[in-house]
Symmetry: C2
Subunit: 402 residues, 2 copies
């Protein structure tokens, strides 16, 4: 589709994407916008006659808009698409366009609860082989339910926020006692995150085929992980401080409506899951991730290979009656494809630090060093044209405070 906004082509937020974010310009209050090409459209500045209810975008998070529900999301998207296509609308809309390079981007949602799944079979198998070399790599439940756990919502940060290396307890093999200090095994996990808009009632599970009513959109996510802290703390109740220091998300939330073309059949599930996990329509997503460290692409994880889909995750999350709130965020878990060049963490890429990777500047990495910059991007292939890019999640490692 064409728009009167200049310089819009694949990779630079085409008209088909219109991702939502929260931005501020020259010290103004953060407010809602959509990205289009090299610009941000300030939705709070659109005349109400063009976008009824635009005042919701004057708020500093997208939550109120997300709470309005699927019909409204579709309406607003159609309205914006029309305004950006119609040359007659240009005189009224153009004053609300800002050059994207000149704005600051903020955390787009106030995160309610954050859940991290573990839904890539290759990743779970890789991790199982590293940590339980003599056992079955997958736990007995893994093919029956999407394994997941709650993470810390208060430390979800927007792309670009520096990430301080955490300190904590670690216990070296053979040592008599744990030591305290900065993590020496700081890692990344390349993931895709899902943002909940419409809440659900406490005590009432969400049927898998209703997932679409609740799910607003998609972000990229880096689940920073301190492997040494994790190894020591994780038995018996799971990861805690090894993950809770920071989780980074992309500034732009791409609506599910923009990803219809990316929907694909997920991997075959054997054994067949229980009925509450069986969807009528396929919920796979053909997103192609790219992980860069200091400019060197170290992995290209294919999201389409993920075993459990976002609809299955949502149905599982609520099957016990747990309610959804606007702003809930849940992530796929590390995305790893079958090939080594498709693995989404350094833990896997370096065989737990044993076999370092080499970057473009000829330095090697077993885990992250202070000053390293990690960038995760994802494209949506389009047979008819250039790929659409989902934005990026970037973070640079700061030295420990300790």
């Amino acid at each position: 589709m064409s728009t009167w906004v200049g310089d819009v082509h694949g990779g630079d937020f085409p008209l088909e994407q219109l991702p939502y974010g929260i931005f501020s310009a020259s010290g103004s209050q953060p407010r809602g916008g959509v990205a289009i090409g090299d610009f941000v459209l300030d939705l709070s500045r659109l005349p109400r006659a063009l976008l009824p209810g635009a005042e919701v975008f004057a708020e500093p998070t997208l939550n109120s808009f997300l709470a309005e529900g699927r019909r409204r999301w579709t309406d607003v998207r159609e309205t914006l698409t029309g305004l950006l296509r119609d040359p007659a609308a240009r005189p009224e809309v153009e004053p609300a366009l800002l050059v994207r390079d000149t704005v600051s981007l903020h955390l787009p949602i106030e995160v309610a609860d954050y859940v991290d799944f573990y839904s890539s079979q290759q990743h779970a198998t890789n991790v199982g082989r590293i940590f339980r070399p003599d056992g079955e790599p997958l736990s007995a439940n893994w093919k029956h339910l999407p394994v997941g756990y709650h993470g810390r919502a208060g430390t979800v940060v927007v792309s670009g926020t520096p990430v301080r290396r955490p300190a904590g307890q670690h216990h070296e093999q053979g040592a008599s006692a744990p030591e305290f200090g900065p993590s020496s095994r700081l890692d990344i996990e390349a993931e895709v995150g899902f943002v909940v808009g419409t809440p659900s009632q406490h005590g009432r599970p969400v049927a898998i085929d209703d997932a679409e009513e609740h799910l607003f959109g998609v972000v990229l996510l880096n689940d920073w992980s301190a492997r040494d802290l994790q190894a020591w703390e994780t038995v018996p109740l799971g990861p805690f401080l090894s993950k809770s220091f920071a989780t980074s998300v992309s500034a732009w939330v791409t609506p599910l409506d923009a990803l219809r073309g990316a929907r694909c059949r997920p991997p075959e599930q054997e054994p067949a899951p229980l009925p509450y996990l069986q969807a009528t329509h396929p919920w796979g997503l053909d997103l192609r991730l790219e992980v860069e460290i200091n400019g060197t692409v170290v992995s290209r994880p294919p999201f389409a290979t993920t075993y459990w889909t976002p609809a299955q995750q949502l149905a599982h999350l609520t099957v016990n009656g747990a309610s959804l709130r606007t702003g809930d965020l849940y992530a796929s878990g590390t995305v790893s494809g079958p090939a080594r060049a498709e693995w989404g963490s350094l833990l896997e890429l370096t065989a737990n630090g044993v076999d370092p990777i080499v970057l473009g500047d000829s330095t090697s990495r077993s885990f992250l060093q202070d000053g390293d910059t990690v960038r995760i991007r994802a494209s949506v292939p389009d047979a008819d044209g250039p790929a659409m890019w989902l934005g990026e999640v970037v973070g640079t490692v700061l030295p420990s405070a300790g």
Copy 2:
């Protein structure tokens, strides 16, 4: 101390306690108050000249007041104590008193992040013996750090809210595949919860001796647990749906300032914890819990026996740089004392359902039945007078929706 408010004696919220809550009366907006004897003092209705800044109590949660910090908490408490002692203040204060029986109580805080610890040595030992009869009951890390995990903040409910029995996957021993259905092993966990007021900066650990600056007060908490769901899902990432369906807290938050007399030396810690977990002042609390099922007291867990203190939990929670937010809630984990009559869950009291307990009506329970009402209370012993009670957390089990 005496007050001009009638009918105030130990057990009925004496002047020394002044717990905060959110209430509504005859359909009015929820707002903040303190309990005093058989009354609630509507803080939003106090003349500003008596309580400067009282408008913060017109809000439907205590969060804004909690964000104001320790000095303000102490000031307000001193002001309220003075007003309730001084007969000259009575004409202006008495119109803001409502009979407690006539008001509805609401969730007092908007919960930011919820963390559940596992800090009773007796409880962790009991659970270890049940689930790992051939191994060490305590995991290797247990005496080095307060083991904990994040729970679901969005399903924390106020005392009195019915709790629907969750459905989910469970896997019977010897079965070839999991089954789906209502939990048949619904349990309680009697815990004490801690409410964070003052936030902390991301990337900056909170020193253990600064815990007092951040911690506002104490609630009672029931961490409802579906043991069959838990057994199947918990490896490798910890409890998830077995806990996330509901967590109940008392409606009244007792400020830490009211519990100075309850502070006691916690159990000796051997080995000595790492320096960041060593506090200058003792942080044990002599709270005596009482667990009732359908009116029969089934256990009296002594909180003073808890191994890890709330200050240690707070220091651990943030040592990796994770920030605190106003409204963060963290709980002790099940409180279990050395004697069997002091164990805080049915899992322990019935040896995982093998050895049912008998209630006052001669019926027996291995786990909870639909219609059962669980009530957890706690008293603070006072050598000089009657015990102070911390309110209660009550819930009745509804049948599964499935």
